[in-house]
Subunit: 212 residues, 2 copies
């Protein structure tokens, strides 16, 4: 019963459900049930059913979920029925890797613009898109109809880049710099701090070491 309130925790699990369904589709399964989905993503069936029920009634009682149709519904909820255009700001090691990373294309995203402030890099064509000057950000973002940006610049520059992006109308930002960036109401930013992920793992290692 699509009561216009999907919990954040549910949203975070939707991509994994979509992955599971695509894998089921690849195995030519026409129908899948909540137990099978749960196994594939490492949860329990009740969680899967509750999560999906926030989006609507997409299953058939006694049968399960039609794989193709559930994929379509999830893709629609995730806003990737059509590809979304993403931009990368910062063409250093990480930005370059993100640009070259093949894993976005078949997950609903297309990298259409890359920015840097280093004159040596600007104008260089890589993998079908040219590195643009960060000064042209407003024009290029509008021209390329970018709706998501990834920030891969040093921590010091991240907030000011975020401000430019928001000013240029970008409403969603994935920030790889290890600082919290502020965005105004109406825009969303997510933090992707790789070193923090390692620290969390390290905490668990320490726990293991401690209990000996």
């Amino acid at each position: 019963m699509s009561n216009l309130h999907v919990p954040m925790t549910t949203v975070q699990r939707l991509p994994s459900y979509l992955q599971a369904l695509i894998s089921a589709q690849a195995q030519r399964m026409p129908v899948i049930n909540s137990v099978e989905i749960a196994e594939m993503v490492g949860t329990n069936a009740a969680q899967v059913r509750k999560d999906l029920s926030y989006l609507g009634e997409y299953g058939t009682r006694g049968v399960g979920y039609d794989v193709d149709s559930l994929i379509a519904h999830l893709a629609r909820w995730l806003g990737i029925e059509q590809h979304r255009n993403v931009a990368i700001v910062g063409f250093g090691r990480l930005g370059g890797a993100l640009q070259g990373y093949g894993g976005f294309g078949d997950r609903g995203f297309r990298v259409v613009a890359v920015f840097d402030d280093d004159p040596d890099k600007i104008g260089e064509p890589y993998n079908g898109c040219t590195v643009e000057s960060i000064d042209d950000i407003e024009i290029v973002l509008a021209r390329e109809k970018v709706d998501i940006a990834m920030i891969a610049v040093p921590a010091m520059a991240a907030q000011s880049v975020a401000d430019s992006l928001v000013a240029a109308g970008v409403k969603a930002i994935l920030n790889f710099a290890p600082v919290r960036i502020e965005v105004p109401e109406g825009a969303i930013a997510r933090q992707a701090d790789l070193a923090a992920e390692l620290q969390i793992l390290s905490f668990h290692l320490s726990s293991l070491e401690r209990q000996t």
Copy 2:
């Protein structure tokens, strides 16, 4: 009151507290209080105090927290008093970027080994470490005293790489491949699926678009 049970949600916030404290230290603040920390990381003071209280009584009532000593305590809980050695499996675009990424060194980690299965890459020295054959994983991990590994191989290969890592004694894995990997009891794996992060942002964009 260090009652041997730190909630997962708290653990996930510890890296951001540490970052905030380091930034306070850089500004020569000798003492900081929960309100200031909360502002820096974007939470509220009660949350900060509760989180820190799971680790111990590190503050002084009426005063706040001594920056240097709290940094030391957090670093200890996060297991990064001494650097931890990490390995990267998969020297493609992403693996290469992780290897070259400068952001790990001052967060407590040292990349000491890189593996790939492509004979053309093996033996090449990059940035002070040589690409090793994935067949030598057990020997090299032991020699380099690796305790955390990052998986940056194609989805298909991720689980088998994880199995080798665990067999070689690695207890913590950060997996960048877009599949859930299984590790036995006693080891920990975290998922770092970049496309999933974009999908979560895209969901929010769709919500915004929907309510118009």
